[in-house]
Symmetry: C2
Subunit: 583 residues, 2 copies
């Protein structure tokens, strides 16, 4: 490039002053900027490379923020961020973390929501549009939703309601022929038919439910997108603009391997190759090894997930056992009811979910699974205090799930225990069982006995005065506290509770004999969590109880170390609290 | 009727031996039976009157339980129950309660799930069908889903996945042109078009996403339904059978007023009239009076609900203010995101939900509403320990919602406090606020001051030794405990906490000076609830804490009085516990 267009562009107003040729050059500069940042820093790549042209065309044609764009998931919003005052977060490596990876109304007046879960944009846009109409304000409202996000039921709820809005609402279906992985389900047959017929097919789900409809084949062509937007700007009724884009457009490794480059950790830009991995085994890989072995032994075992095989480590299983692998698309609610029904027929479904997305299926866990008490198994990954974006926190699973009757939620503390718990979960047929993968390096702790009588805790060391109950990955923290206390002459009891969803009354009663303090440690929020149940149990006794875990709060990319300090999850702080109590 | 066919019919096998003429007479007998029971006992009427013919035709043509029928919501399953061994629950008044109002696998091998929430049948049926295929078993799987339930996003998730099953799956769309109230949304335009074209319209949402499709206009004609089922029995691919039925068929008051007769309390069968109401005001009616007054003062106020205006008392508001009233259909998830977006633009949306159905929108409360901290207001009805069916329990709302950050969940204790809390919620713009309507007779408790500083409790009486914290409707229970203690010479402190989602640390600390015991009372489950947070707060102190509320369990039509005994929610039991502790 001979000239740097981006140096002249900071705001949508700047975008409007460019020629189509300049916009095309700007698109290339933005593409390089995104590629450079993601290759160094990690982030969403494919969705952002696909969205450059229509983003610039949007700002060229429309008048943001009077015209409002709502990004579904918002992992495709980097180009939008770059031209709405936030390019510094992409240009300077030291500023990379100054701009979040998702849309954020606190960063810019051109963003309206903080989102990171899919399939909500049409609902949100319909709300903006309805408020506009009631307020007597003007302007366009545009929801941008990917083809993958359309499989989430809430997208359909939004479309069903948006269709009858009776005023301006533009739903840009950004069809790059991919979810995070391959798309799943019948609706993709329709999208393909529409692509293949240049939008002319009679069978059209959008028109069927009442939307006007237009198709744009060349979604990565600037002039085409400008013309497409100009044609529908200020339209007086709801319309779907079905735009065909290419995921990873402009970067060959990302168009060749769309799934791998949906989101990517740092990589070599020239080759698309990642640095050699550390090879450290994770509990996810332990789980996959177990699954691989189990499916060979028991043909009732199947794996289910909702559109994120990569994040859950299911890629290998998918390749080897396509007949035992079910990706239901972005449809978490369906995944649980589907598994419940399979389990009712003697199958052994294991549903894999990320902690942040299990939130999307509370009612199905309660109503379709737990009331029916079918023995499906759920494996939860990412349930931990972390420095994640606010939209992807994984600390709420215990509060959400463990208060639902009938569910047995287990917290393994070692490779051996994880395997034993899975064996137990799949062998029994009395309850739905969930298993919380520890988010730490794999620990080996061979055991001679696995007795999983419901709600029985394991006493790893019998001491006195102080008892430490360390749940799941926080058993390690408990061991450190135990060591520190030992150095101060206190021989503390150490307990691995194993069951998140129940109280071992016998053991808790026994502790009363020679303990003054019980502490609980959990890698999740305190409110509604595990420790509070211990506090309640001892409420009428003289036993003192301290609960450690996260405060009920939304944190946005706050480093884990800072959170640990804030929550006093450090052995020396905990020991200080205990010693103060024992005085 | 000259002969009683039903006396010969107890099982599906009996149904198969009848002629079409006999089946038609049986349909009339069943209709009369349902009418008689519901008129005396209360229950779902319109949906059951609509489903008689296709239910009998199903059992005539198919071989249940090898062929499996999955009822969505299952409030239309009375005819099915009557011919699958459960007619005693409809014939004899003393046996009315021996059969539940929803499908139940513990009652009959012809039922596969206990369900009462909508939109899950296609997912469940897809799971049954997939298990059948993997097990190498045979048989048909039929999901019966009403047109109203189709607006729930999960129905679409199920259809999207069912469409690509590649084997037998029959989705009977039972289109009676009604949800509980009028249908809402664009999909109903398509259903209407399909009805009007006898199923021949090119625009067909079911075909668009990959289902085969057939339309049956005369869904209440026996011979037609038999022929329709015979034509698709053992079909080798997924098909939608779109059946036009009449809600309330055969009972004129129910066809004339479909919404009122969807579910009905006991009424006069000859006239369709209900006995004169008691006229006792409820908190729902207080809420509606407030809403009516408020909407006159502030044109930013709007009411949103998801398809159950009647159950929420919104019928009058809907009639008077159609422009301020938004029924989004059965789409709870959408309702919250829609409200969040409206609130972000300065509107004052109030979303009305039943406690059991708020479960369907956990993620939207967390992700779309609370992370964004938009000041929408949610009003929760039916949040109480009750003798309800297991599928409609309302005791989980505090555990589910109160552990989500940013949400302010309020528990009013009187008419005046409810009104003041609504005023506060609508005036502030810092937080989403939910308000829990007390489920008890309306109490008047004029107050001179309403100071809703966040998480400040109201001390109604300052005593010593024992402090009673009575949340919401259970403040009344607290007053009774206070009186009983008073009779025993203990002057207990009484506190109305008002805020479910926060701790008044100052007040709790002050109690330490001259109190030994704090008790908490809440009309919901203990696990993850309000009281546990008080227990946690006092964990390191010598204060003894007793939490009262419901055990974490699913109860199915267990009388409230029995539950109160089980949970020790009686003043004398609580007083005995306190006195034992004070010894």
């Amino acid at each position: 490039m001979t000239e740097n267009i981006l140096s002249q562009v900071s705001t949508p107003t700047d975008v409007k002053s460019l020629s189509v040729g300049e916009l095309e050059r700007l698109a290339e500069e933005i593409r390089q900027l995104v590629l450079t940042k993601v290759s160094k820093h990690g982030g969403h790549l494919g969705p952002n490379l696909a969205s450059v042209e229509f983003t610039l065309a949007f700002h060229y044609v429309f008048d943001s923020p009077r015209d409002k764009i709502v990004w579904d998931v918002s992992h495709q919003s980097y180009p939008h961020k770059i031209v709405t005052g936030r390019k510094h977060g992409f240009i300077d490596e030291e500023n990379y973390d100054s701009v979040t990876g998702y849309s954020n109304q606190h960063e810019s007046e051109h963003d309206f929501f903080t989102v990171g879960h899919t399939s909500t944009s049409v609902s949100l846009a319909t709300g903006l549009a309805k408020a506009r109409d009631l307020n007597g304000a003007g302007g366009n409202v545009i929801a941008v939703i990917g083809d993958g996000s359309l499989s989430g039921g809430m997208a359909f709820e939004g479309l069903n309601n948006g269709a009858v809005l009776g005023s301006n609402l533009i739903v840009l279906v950004n069809d790059n022929e991919m979810s995070i992985a391959e798309n799943q389900g019948g609706l993709y047959k329709n999208l393909r038919l529409l692509r293949e017929t240049n939008g002319t097919a009679e069978e059209n789900m959008f028109k069927a439910i009442g939307f006007d409809y237009r198709y744009v084949e060349a979604g990565n062509d600037m002039a085409t997108m400008i013309a497409a937007f100009e044609a529908i700007k200020d339209i007086d009724h709801p319309i779907v603009l079905h735009v065909h884009t290419e995921k990873g457009h402009g970067y060959e490794p990302a168009t060749t391997n769309k799934e791998a480059f949906h989101w990517h950790s740092p990589f070599d830009l020239a080759t698309g190759k990642s640095p050699a991995g550390s090879g450290t085994p994770s509990y996810a890989s332990v789980m996959m090894d177990y699954l691989e072995a189990k499916v060979q032994q028991d043909d009732r075992v199947v794996a289910i997930n909702a559109a994120i095989p990569g994040a859950l480590g299911l890629g290998g299983f998918r390749s080897k056992h396509p007949d035992k692998y079910f990706d239901v698309g972005i449809a978490e609610a369906h995944s649980i009811a589907f598994a419940s029904a399979m389990a009712s027929q003697g199958m052994k479904p294991i549903v894999f979910h990320s902690s942040t997305f299990i939130q999307r299926t509370y009612d199905q866990i309660s109503h379709d699974l737990c009331i029916n008490n079918n023995p499906a198994v759920i494996v939860i990954k990412g349930a931990t205090i972390s420095g994640s974006d606010v939209t992807h926190l994984g600390v709420f699973d215990i509060a959400m799930m463990s208060n639902i009757p009938n569910l047995v939620y287990l917290a393994p503390t070692s490779q051996e225990e994880l395997t034993a718990m899975m064996e137990w979960a799949l062998a029994q047929d009395q309850h739905p069982v969930a298993v919380r993968l520890p988010e730490q390096a794999v620990i080996n702790r061979p055991q001679t006995q696995f007795d999983f009588s419901l709600n029985t805790y394991e006493q790893l060391h019998a001491g006195s005065k102080v008892a430490i109950i360390g749940l799941g990955s926080f058993l390690s923290l408990g061991e450190k506290v135990q060591e520190s206390l030992n150095a101060k002459g206190i021989d503390a009891t150490l307990i691995n509770p194993r069951f998140i969803t129940g109280i071992d009354k016998d053991m808790l009663n026994q502790l009363k004999a020679n303990h003054d303090v019980v502490i609980t440690l959990e890698d999740g929020i305190l409110d509604g969590g595990f420790g509070e149940k211990i506090s309640r149990y001892y409420g009428a006794d003289s036993m003192k109880v301290l609960n450690y875990g996260a405060i009920k709060e939304f944190t946005d990319s706050v480093p884990k170390a800072e959170l640990y300090r804030r929550y006093r999850l450090e052995p020396e702080l905990i020991v200080a609290d205990i010693l103060a109590l024992l005085k």
